[in-house]
Assembly symmetry: C2
Homo-oligomer: 163 residues x 2
Amino acid sequence: MVTTTDFRNGMALLTGAVNIITTAGPAGQAGFTASAVCSVTDQPPTLLVCVNRSAYSHGLLLANRKLCVNVLGSHQQHLSALFADRNVSMEQRFGGTPWSILHTGSPALDGALANFDGEVVHTHEVGTHTVFYAELRQVRLAEAPHSGLAYFDRCYHPVERPH
Amino acid sequence: MVTTTDFRNGMALLTGAVNIITTAGPAGQAGFTASAVCSVTDQPPTLLVCVNRSAYSHGLLLANRKLCVNVLGSHQQHLSALFADRNVSMEQRFGGTPWSILHTGSPALDGALANFDGEVVHTHEVGTHTVFYAELRQVRLAEAPHSGLAYFDRCYHPVERPH
């Protein structure tokens, strides 16, 4: 028997990247912070994102069936809290920083370490969450070698590039 | 169009934990290094692991339907290469370090930051890989506050605990 507390305390020790997931389409535009992003396969290039079904953005992802995963660098740590705050409107979230449009039309954060832009090709529901599988249509890498941003033991940590 | 090189260069910038996945059961015992591990939901406590279908351990995971995710600390970095080397036998991999048995019988690495021991409840094939969903039966945390181990930009990085 694994309690919610056991699970969360354990998962806090699984070092992860910090990402902003965006979507745009007929259902509207949204963006939120997520660490539950995982590479699946490079044939065809696919990643997955786990999203709580109670999240505002969940319905938009389901309807638009497009998303962009924006991997934050350490210089973008402030965006993590901004895009995780339910009291901050979508206008406020997107208003303060520059974005580009890649293949799917979902906002791609300028200066992110990487933008993974793709179409949702499969979803799978597990308990409170939906797993979205996205087949990538475009990948853009930052030109500057920014440091990475890791979340570990409930804190942010910069991760330097090797020299 | 996203090439394999684009995809891999992008994914190299997605900071991740370093884990050893183990399994034991009628099909035998195996262990391998994996970064593609992701929290799914805490109701019921579930994680997922993406495994290449060409990997030796893939068939054992499918047959045993049990696994343990062992999250490496920075003091265990040497185990990452050991468990990723196809020329190292399972006997050699498991021989040099102490293990425990938790609920499912899959080897749980002593001194890992966390051991997530669970049963495979669902699988999903995507291209070259299978995604294994495991419902957790036991979670064990390290007693000592070891530093974390991150993989970013194709190098290992220790991640200190906050003070």
